[in-house]
């Protein structure tokens, strides 16, 4: 990964588990497109706490991940770091994911915190949602807060 890009889109999840595959599917969509040079797309996989290294040195970071219980009717939503980490695990475990990472971020980040957004995909994943999430993440990446 190049740490030079100041705007990073980080797709999180497990492509081998359908209920957690939304992030990797958006990753596949984004890397098939021609993106502005100052934006990099990262396959964050199951990195959990190790996502911290992708945040260092960025001005703006957009995470894409499957979410639960934010929009019961399903769809694509945008969360800030506080909302996304509000219900994170209190104790660290190997299951600790993006929410734990975002909660501990202010304590461990070196330098100015980047803008953080989470594009959450709720409910069954389909092509429309993947395209919507990809478009929304690119729009935030280029224009900032929606």
């Amino acid at each position: 990964m190049s740490n030079d890009a100041k705007i990073r889109i980080i797709c999180v999840g497990n492509r081998y588990r359908p209920e957690d595959s939304a992030g990797p599917m958006v990753y596949d969509q984004l890397v098939s497109e021609r993106l502005p040079e100052n934006i990099i797309v990262i396959d964050g996989g199951l990195a959990g706490l190790n996502l911290l290294r992708f945040i260092q040195g960025a001005d703006r970071v957009i995470f894409i991940d499957a979410v639960n219980c934010f929009r019961p009717s399903g769809g694509v939503i945008i969360l800030n770091a506080a909302d996304a980490s509000r219900n994170s695990e209190t104790l660290f475990g190997h299951g600790a994911g993006l929410s734990y990472c975002l909660r501990v971020l202010p304590e461990v980040h070196e330098g100015k915190l980047p803008e953080i957004f989470v594009v959450g995909i709720e409910g069954t994943t389909g092509p429309d949602k993947i395209l919507t999430a990809a478009e929304m993440s690119l729009k935030i990446a280029t224009q900032g807060s929606p």
Partner: protein, 512 residues
């Protein structure tokens, strides 16, 4: 359940790789019986069948977000064996450094983010050291917690530099590695290793690596602790004091059988040497009953499924001919886990850093196991000090890399055949057994460290390692059985631990 002093506690334990549950029967405030229940079937082994021979390099690192380098190592070594590829020294060193980077970050995070999180349990609020423990280990705030997160995120950069991608890198291939690090890459990695080493010495040990490595037995460990304030107040010093204070040296012994598959091949002409001069690994392979070590032979590994939800095999199967045929109809009577039960020469064995220390004949841990026995305290002490065994080799190997030499030797085509790749993941012995037929994967069997440590009973109804380690564990408060968490976590089982007790129709839930 008529005895008022008897009750059953079930602990659902979640993890990346799947889910586990620990069920215990308590009699007279002690654990009288224990069952380790794997509650999730994943089917990775079956998913690999009929795919191309190289697909294991891509799929198996995704088994676990924590130890993906170990799975990649095992997958690559299995294909090295099948293809007959000879791996150049440069590639051996890169593979080793990446695996060691994964280990040392995992050891620190497990120790100070997971294991010591139990030290601030309310059960210990009256301990004299409790307030200091809170300052160090409180989730999200403790100064040790924050410091460990900061410093462990950097060391993993080495894998990203060598692999070009992290996590879930697939740069190890039969015959070496796919990347070709230049001198700038190597110097970057050297800087990261040296920086981690400096922090580990200052914060974790409170002394130099050389001083720590002079500790040869239990008496010298006590002398080291009291030698000066730097030792006494270091993270290791505080761990020793607090763990003994709450009695972790008296619980969690287990079978005292240990297994290591061996790891970190020694390249030709390297100045790095392991503790065992006869081993071609830095950390040797072996099996030990207490500290009596036997030569390791992978042919003696068999997986049993008598108590696992798979179709029965007569007495267990060697993994090269192993099968993963789920069988859970609700009518299987005594079966209770999706985890198989690996056994070595018919015997359960624990694996992990303590097993590595024992089989390496590390003098301190040999003495501790011989004199006071293994325990939750000793098991975690081995994990917290394992980086001291690895860092000097990392610092030497990074200097031995030569960017002018090969990192990949053209390997023959992967022909039909059988092979296995054995290594040590951060939590212990990891093996991939692979059969290739008609240029496709015919069979792929994986035995993970948690399968060893968290196995259910075998064909002879012998408990698995952490089932055994729980027996006789005293519980001061059965409503807050934090001692169960200490014992299970000392094996580093990748678990988020929550316990609920079932008493008839009542169900109580609490965290440990």
């Amino acid at each position: 359940m008529n005895n008022p002093r008897t009750k059953i506690i079930t602990a659902p334990l979640n993890r990346v790789e799947g889910d586990l549950e620990i069920r215990v029967r308590i009699e007279d405030d002690r654990v009288a019986e224990a069952w380790s229940v794997g509650v999730m079937f994943r089917g990775i082994e079956n998913m690999l069948k009929n795919r191309g021979p190289l697909d294991g390099l891509v799929i198996t690192p995704r088994i676990c977000g924590i130890c993906s380098t170990a799975h990649l190592t095992a997958a690559a070594k299995a294909l090295d064996a099948i293809s007959g590829a000879e791996v150049p020294s440069n590639a051996i060193i890169v593979r080793n450094i990446a695996l060691m980077a994964e280990h040392i970050q995992s050891d620190m995070r497990h120790g100070f983010l997971m294991y010591t999180a139990d030290f601030v349990n309310s059960a210990y609020s009256r301990q004299s050291l409790y307030d200091e423990a809170v300052k160090r280990y409180e989730p999200f705030k403790g100064r040790t917690v924050i410091d460990v997160i900061k410093h462990t995120k950097e060391i993993l950069e080495t894998i990203a530099i060598f692999g070009g991608q992290w996590p879930h890198s697939s740069y190890m291939v039969p015959g070496g590695i796919a990347s070709k690090p230049n001198m700038n890459d190597i110097m970057q990695c050297k800087y990261l290793i040296d920086k981690f080493a400096s922090w580990y010495e200052k914060r974790i040990l409170g002394c130099s690596l050389q001083r720590w490595l002079k500790v040869q037995n239990g008496a010298e460990l006590d002398a080291w602790l009291d030698e000066n304030e730097s030792h006494y107040n270091s993270e290791l010093g505080f761990y020793i004091r607090y763990a003994r204070d709450i009695g972790l040296d008296k619980i969690g012994q287990g079978h005292a059988n240990f297994i290591s598959f061996g790891q970190l091949d020694l390249p030709e002409s390297s100045k790095v040497m392991g503790r065992n001069p006869n081993s071609h690994f830095l950390i040797p392979a072996g099996f030990a009953r207490n500290t009596e070590i036997e030569p390791f032979d992978q042919q003696k590994i068999f997986e049993h499924v008598a108590f696992s939800w798979y179709t029965d095999s007569n007495g267990g199967q060697h993994p090269i001919s192993g099968e993963t045929n789920p069988y859970a109809t609700g009518e299987e009577s005594e079966k209770y886990s999706w985890t198989k039960a690996p056994r070595y020469n018919g015997t359960p064995a624990e694996t992990g850093p303590l097993a590595e220390m024992v089989i390496s004949q590390h003098p301190l841990f040999t003495d501790l196991v011989n004199t006071v026995g293994s325990s939750a305290f000793v098991r975690e002490l081995a994990r917290l000090t394992r980086p001291a065994e690895l860092i000097p080799a990392m610092q030497q190997w990074i200097l031995e890399l030569n960017p002018q030499e090969k990192f990949y030797a053209h390997s023959p085509n992967i022909t039909d055949g059988e092979g296995f790749g054995l290594t040590q993941a951060s939590r212990g012995a990891l093996g991939h057994w692979v059969t290739i037929s008609d240029k496709k994967i015919k069979n792929y069997q994986i035995i993970t460290p948690t399968a060893w440590n968290g196995s259910p009973r075998d064909t002879d109804s012998i408990r698995g390692p952490w089932e055994e380690a729980l027996i006789h564990t005293p519980l001061k408060d059965t409503e807050n059985p934090v001692e169960i968490g200490h014992v299970i976590r000392s094996f580093d089982p990748c678990l988020v631990c929550a316990v609920h007790a079932i008493q008839g129709k009542m169900e109580n839930r609490w965290k440990i």
